[in-house]
């Protein structure tokens, strides 16, 4: 029986569930509960909160499936993980805090932004990190923001930045340095999460 259950694909189970077979949902949940719950716990570090988020995740899954709104055939787990991820973010937003990032040693957010080898789960977090970083950049003074954008997003050299902005290379370097210092200050002040 266990062997048979494992042979049934997620997509088939989802279809069966939508057609009214409640047992298919049980198989799906039992198949993926560890991945989903461990993922949630790795973000919230609290068993009770993880239970709540896990429960809310599957309530959302159930409601979406029963409304016939699910259209990601064959991608059930990534879809569930995305829901869980969003609910974790909601949890932290509701509590007006984000998990702390232990900002020690060498740290470069941009090394992550250019990492293309991340798996689907990490890619979701990467999206959130990118959004947070963009938000931080928007808070910078214009001259620092300009240099940082040119350097990090347009991959320009400091010589090119100097020519484009009409300031010396040293000034451009100084603005970049202050931009990073200011971003780090904001991150520390607001305990903003920039990692999982």
């Amino acid at each position: 029986m266990i062997m048979r259950k494992e042979l049934i694909s997620d997509a088939t189970l989802v279809s069966s569930y939508i057609e009214g077979d409640e047992f298919s949902l049980e198989i799906l949940i039992k198949r993926h509960k560890q991945r989903v719950y461990s993922f949630i716990y790795s973000k919230v570090y609290d068993r009770d909160i993880a239970e709540d988020v896990f429960q809310d995740t599957f309530i959302k899954v159930i409601r979406t499936l029963k409304r016939g709104k699910y259209n990601e055939e064959g991608k059930f787990l990534p879809w569930v993980m995305r829901i869980a991820h969003n609910l974790v973010i909601d949890h932290f937003r509701k509590n007006n805090r984000m998990p702390k990032f232990d900002n020690t040693g060498e740290f470069s957010i941009f090394s992550v932004l250019s990492d293309t080898s991340l798996n689907a789960e990490k890619a979701l977090i990467k999206d959130q990190v990118e959004t947070d970083v963009r938000r931080l950049i928007e808070e910078l003074p214009d001259d620092q923001k300009e240099v940082l954008m040119m350097r990090m997003y347009q991959d320009m050299s400091f010589k090119e930045i100097s020519e484009r902005t009409g300031v010396s290379i040293n000034t451009a370097l100084g603005r970049m340095r202050y931009a990073l210092i200011n971003m780090r200050k904001v991150i520390e002040k607001h305990n903003i999460i920039l990692t999982n």
Partner: protein, 40 residues
């Protein structure tokens, strides 16, 4: 930071939700089916 990502991922413990949580979710689904059936 890429290093931090991968290190943290390795540290993720394999945990399971409580049986009560699973039961609640399954009961919720069944209850929703009954409600939907009654609406028909």
């Amino acid at each position: 930071m890429a290093k931090i990502y991968s290190e943290n991922s390795k540290k993720i413990k394999k945990l399971n939700p409580k049986d009560e949580t699973i039961s609640f979710i399954l009961d919720y689904s069944k209850a929703l089916s009954v409600i939907n059936y009654q609406k028909m």
